[in-house]
């Protein structure tokens, strides 16, 4: 049973947490093409968030090519076309996000060696695609 977990008190908006969590499951192939996700209504009910929050998250994942949204019948994971190589601008955005994250880890006292190990481990976990 695949679980999705969010924190309603997090600084990160609920819709962003849903997108990020489902994307991780898609990238590491926990959710593979053909898998059916719950309807917007059902997932919103389970998480105790507004329907629009889940709807927005599903639409973003559909725009990325991960989901096929069928009206009123939930969402289905589809085989995604291999995305084109990221533009230099997009790569620069990722670099900034990564730098901010690493800075946060460093300021929280995580040693450099540990950061490298964590990055490698996460990368290996997500490299099934």
């Amino acid at each position: 049973m695949v679980k999705l977990r969010i924190d309603l008190q997090s600084q990160v908006p609920a819709y962003r947490q849903i997108v990020d969590a489902i994307r991780v499951l898609l990238v590491d192939s926990t959710l593979s093409p053909g898998a059916e996700l719950p309807s917007v209504r059902r997932l919103a009910m389970e998480l105790g968030v507004h329907f629009n929050t889940v709807g927005e998250a599903y639409r973003e994942l559909a725009a990325e090519g991960w989901l096929d949204l069928r009206h009123g019948r939930g969402a289905k994971v589809i085989r995604r076309a291999v995305p084109q190589r990221s533009s230099p601008e997009r790569l620069q955005e990722f670099r900034v996000q990564l730098r901010n994250l690493i800075a946060q880890m460093r300021s929280s006292g995580v040693p450099v060696g540990r950061i490298v190990t964590e990055l490698k481990s996460v990368l290996e976990g997500l490299s099934h695609e």
Binding site: V2, K3, L4, L25, E36, P38, M45, E46, G48
Partner: protein, 327 residues
């Protein structure tokens, strides 16, 4: 002591017992309808609240017993109802007071939410069992039709607390088949409510348990109605009609007592702030139509949800329409 008094005392004892057990047949996460830490029940404050509550339940029962002796010989429905209501009112007053006391020790509601990412639920096949109470009255109607000539021209339609007939009915299609029509209608409403609960509440083992209780309740109700419909034909003491509800309540209390102590049995993480008196749940932000009750084990509607209001309005309209047809 006459039989009306014995019946009344039995009812007082039964209701008083249920009131005393109420905090023990509620998920352990809640104490007097307040979210508390797992060990709170065993703290000094927890014990003190329980002691005060149990004392008031006993006072309510004693008051009802005293009242029934004062009203000795009165066996009207209204008297029985009012006397039995005394321990309920006293117990709930104490419950609400203890709720205020315990709320000082309330724990913040868990903000971590977890959802199973599998597709929407299909109605389970065992739901077909809930069709039996709708079909049962049809079978009994066929039996009554086959024995129509044996049904007396005048038969008891109502009994007082002493088990004596205090209202009579003339034999007609309406009076003979009426209870069966009500039975089929109520069973249908029960089935629809159960389906609505299944699809309108959060997933989890508690949902399955509550749905099973609801289906069992529909069976019990259908059994009582069918037995009532058979009374003109098969003579039996009408007090026996009280046996299935009492037996059902006792079995459910025992089962729920076990369920709420199961560490794998979660409870809905609804915020305390959305509960009024621990009974009414109003949360327009929560898309759930049905949420787990804080008192006892079951569901209540989310009064902040428009679909819930629409559904409840529909069910109430169905009950009123059925009462209108039966007039």
């Amino acid at each position: 002591m006459n039989s009306a008094m014995a019946f009344l005392l039995m009812m007082i004892g039964f209701v008083g017992g249920l009131m005393a057990l109420l905090p023990f047949i509620t998920p352990l996460r809640y104490y007097f309808a307040v979210t508390v830490s797992p060990g709170f029940r065993n703290t000094l404050e927890g014990h003190a609240s329980m002691r005060r509550y149990e004392t008031w339940v006993a006072i309510g029962v004693a008051a009802a017993v005293a009242l029934s002796f004062l009203l000795d010989g009165r066996s009207e429905d209204a008297v029985t109802f009012l006397v039995v209501l005394v321990p309920v009112v006293v117990s709930f007053s104490s419950f609400f007071h203890e709720r205020r006391v315990v709320s000082r020790f309330a724990q913040p509601t868990d903000t971590i939410r977890e959802a199973d990412l599998s597709a929407d639920d299909r109605t389970p096949r065992w739901f077909a069992l809930a069709l039996v109470p709708i079909a049962l009255p049809l079978g009994v109607a066929a039996y009554l039709r086959a024995h129509w000539a044996e049904i007396p021209l005048r038969f008891p339609a109502h009994f007082n607390a002493a088990g004596e007939a205090d209202r009579w009915a003339e034999k007609s299609v309406r009076t003979v088949y009426g209870p069966l029509l009500v039975c089929a209608g109520m069973s249908l409403i029960g089935l629809l409510i159960t389906l609505a609960m299944y699809h309108g509440a959060r997933r989890g083992p508690q949902r399955t348990a509550i749905i099973k209780i609801a289906v069992a309740a529909v069976y019990m109700m259908a059994f009582v109605f069918v037995a009532t419909a058979l009374l003109p034909l098969i003579q039996f003491p009408p007090q026996l009609l009280m046996v299935p509800p009492v037996l059902f309540a006792l079995l459910m209390v025992a089962w729920v007592y076990r369920l709420v102590r199961d560490p794998n049995m979660p409870a809905d993480a609804t915020p305390d702030a959305s509960w009024h008196l621990g009974v009414v749940y109003y949360n327009p932000q929560d898309p759930a139509v049905f949420v787990q009750r804080r008192i006892g084990f079951g569901y209540t509607v989310n009064f902040g949800n428009r679909l819930a209001m629409f559904l409840m309005g529909g069910f109430i309209a169905m009950v009123i329409a059925m009462m209108f047809v039966m007039r």
